[in-house]
């Protein structure tokens, strides 16, 4: 299995487990794509968690304000009609759990990884950019009429060289590495 397939499996497993356990929701995985930083401008809620170690990068969850309120309501058994502090905190914690579980599953293959505390952004007409220019592995999940998007971007660091084929790094395709 290569790193890309491993990350996709970890994202799908962690996201479905967190949704089922904390939100009582059985999510259906949808399309998985690879994306460079895109130029499209977005509205909604985006939450980020940093990953660091022999591989470093970012995990992210994106959803609409409507879905963010729904997630908060199902998690806390309250009703949220607009994005407020409670909604942002719930999305941050869901991101922490999903990416934290992805991290734990990846550690068996990629070595120890650290996890930052989450950052949540809610706004209109914003653009998120990965400073490392690494590709995002983007996994989507259907949630009724809405969609939850989970992204992970990881690149090997110096300490990972022993486990990474030089050819993959030369081709700038770290996700092609077999693990």
């Amino acid at each position: 299995m290569n790193v890309k397939d491993l990350i996709v499996n970890c994202i799908q497993h962690a996201t479905r487990q967190v949704a089922s356990t904390m939100l009582g929701e059985e999510l259906k995985p949808a399309m998985v794509t690879m994306e460079r930083d895109t130029s499209d401008v977005r509205d909604g809620v985006v939450s980020f968690v940093g990953l660091a170690g022999n591989w470093a990068g970012t995990g992210s969850i994106t959803c609409s304000p409507t879905l963010a309120c729904k997630i908060c309501g199902q998690m806390l058994m309250t009703e949220a009609s607009a994005v407020n502090e409670e909604v942002l905190d719930a999305i941050a914690e869901i991101t922490n759990m999903v990416i934290g579980n992805v991290k734990t599953d990846l550690e068996a293959h990629l070595g120890p990884l650290g996890l930052s505390v989450p950052t949540v952004v809610y706004g209109h007409n914003f653009k998120a950019r990965n400073a490392g220019h690494a590709e995002w592995i983007v996994a989507r999940f259907e949630w009724g009429e809405e969609a939850l998007t989970v992204k992970v971007s990881l690149t090997p660091q110096d300490g990972a060289k022993g486990t990474v084929h030089a050819s993959a790094l030369l081709l700038n395709e770290p996700y092609a590495v077999d693990v």
């Binding site: 356990t21 908060c72 905190d89 941050a92 934290g100 579980n101 734990t104 120890p112 996890l115």
Partner: protein
């Protein structure tokens, strides 16, 4: 006697869920206090009696492992059981938590039954006779 419990997590959402779950256990629970990080938790323990601590690991200011280290290094608090509730599920983190004196370890996401099961053998012995 009712147990006084301290929940330490930087997420208000998790603190709220744990409040609800703890009340549903049917155990004899009195006050459930909340702190957002290890520093705040230590300050709270100086002014309140605590029989059990539930703490996250990844938190700003002072993380859960540093916080537990300080609890276990304080004679007055060393017998208080500390249960880690965290996304950190790697063997190294679990081993470190156990080495520092954790009484239990629950990985997020958790169910109410998992919390209840974990606390069943911990809470009662922690209460004074």
């Amino acid at each position: 006697m009712e147990a006084e419990i301290l929940v330490v997590d930087d997420s208000a959402a998790i603190r709220k869920i744990l409040q609800r779950v703890l009340r549903q256990t049917g155990m004899a629970i009195g006050n459930i206090m909340e702190a957002g990080d290890g520093e705040e938790a230590l300050a709270m323990m100086q002014s309140h009696k605590v029989h059990l601590v539930l703490t996250d690991i990844n938190m700003p200011k002072m993380d859960g492992l540093q916080f537990m280290g300080k609890v276990k290094a304080t004679a007055e608090w060393e017998a208080i059981p500390v249960v880690m509730i965290t996304t950190e599920g790697g063997e190294a983190k679990v081993a470190e938590a156990v080495r520092l004196g954790a009484a239990g370890y629950v990985r997020k996401p958790f169910t109410a039954d998992q919390i209840k099961e974990k606390l069943a053998g911990i809470l009662e012995p922690a209460l004074p006779l």
